[in-house]
């Protein structure tokens, strides 16, 4: 399956993402610059992490209004898989592709460490290679990962299994509601998450817990 990685000024985790996708799929993803209005025919679009537009206004706010995001919206509506990691998650929220918002960490500190992540829903196209309730390791690195939504939205997410990843074992690094680390859209093809699975995919990283997410998203057998 083919993949694409969006490029926007200020993102800095794009190369990790390209390396991960290349390693796992055996072919480099196509890269798509922010001003493009069309995205090539791919099966997975990834919005990587970083600090698009210097986090000006709000994290992801300006990136979410760039022309390429309209193309992402069209592809997502057509069922193409979309993954947003860290700033990519913030961009998907600001673009309205996922509900809620990410606020400043409750500690007010930038957190850069490993957390325990519970796979709260293993029946998505991104998590099918994990077991429900499985706890995996994953690094986080962010200043604004404190997930917030109104009570009604939160209940809707919880009731429909749309909380896909949760910080486990008391490792919530940011004050996120219900320990939410990642959520999926109603159709099940757009996933946003704060942790960085692309940074734990080979032994040289110290673990491979993140690899299953990319294999699943690219329909590559475990």
């Amino acid at each position: 399956m083919k993949s694409a990685v969006l490029l926007l000024p200020g993102l800095n985790r794009d190369r990790d993402m390209i390396a991960a996708l290349t390693k796992i799929s055996g072919a480099p993803p196509v890269t798509v610059w922010q001003t493009e209005t069309e995205i090539p025919d791919v099966d997975l679009i990834v919005v990587p992490g970083g600090f698009s537009y210097g986090d000006y206004l709000r994290c992801g706010a300006i990136a979410a209004r760039m022309p390429v995001m309209e193309a992402v919206r069209e592809k997502a509506a057509a069922g193409v898989r979309v993954l947003g990691v860290c700033n990519g998650f913030q961009i998907l929220l600001e673009a309205g592709l996922l509900p809620g918002a990410l606020m400043r960490n409750a500690s007010l500190k930038f957190v850069c460490k490993e957390v325990s992540l519970e796979v709260a829903n293993a029946q998505t196209c991104f998590t099918s290679q994990y077991e429900a309730g499985q706890v995996i390791r994953c690094p986080v690195a962010h200043h604004d990962g404190n997930y917030y939504s109104d009570a009604e939205t939160l209940a809707r997410l919880e009731d429909s299994g749309r909380v896909v990843f949760r910080y486990a074992n008391g490792s919530n690094p940011n004050g996120s509601m219900n320990d939410i680390a990642g959520i999926i859209n109603e159709s099940g093809n757009v996933l946003g998450m704060m942790p960085h699975p692309e940074d734990l995919i080979e032994p040289a990283h110290g673990g491979e817990d993140g690899a299953g997410l990319f294999r699943a998203a690219l329909d590559i057998a475990a």
Binding site: A61, M103, N105, A106, Y148, S149, G175
Partner: protein
């Protein structure tokens, strides 16, 4: 030329860790009698127009589309 001021504030009930930290720092400085502090944003926008109502409408549209995240923020538009 119209000079406008847009004020964006967090909705009631949305936690504001930054406001809380500022509240604490004010206490540290010895300012007593300070209740809750909430942090917001102000945008001063020049509009090349003479029609105040049209400008107000356009500014509200800007808030809905970019200046505010209406999931967590409210906004107010003032024509100065």
């Amino acid at each position: 030329m119209i000079q406008a001021r847009v004020t964006v504030t967090l909705k009631n009930g949305v936690l504001d860790p930054q406001g809380k930290a500022i509240e604490g720092a004010l206490g540290t400085l010895g300012f007593d009698g300070v209740g809750q502090v909430r942090q917001g944003k102000v945008f001063d926008v020049e509009m090349d127009s003479a029609d105040k109502e049209a400008a107000r409408k356009k500014l509200s549209d800007m808030c809905e589309k970019l200046l505010a995240n209406t999931v967590i923020e409210d906004y107010a538009v003032d024509i100065l």
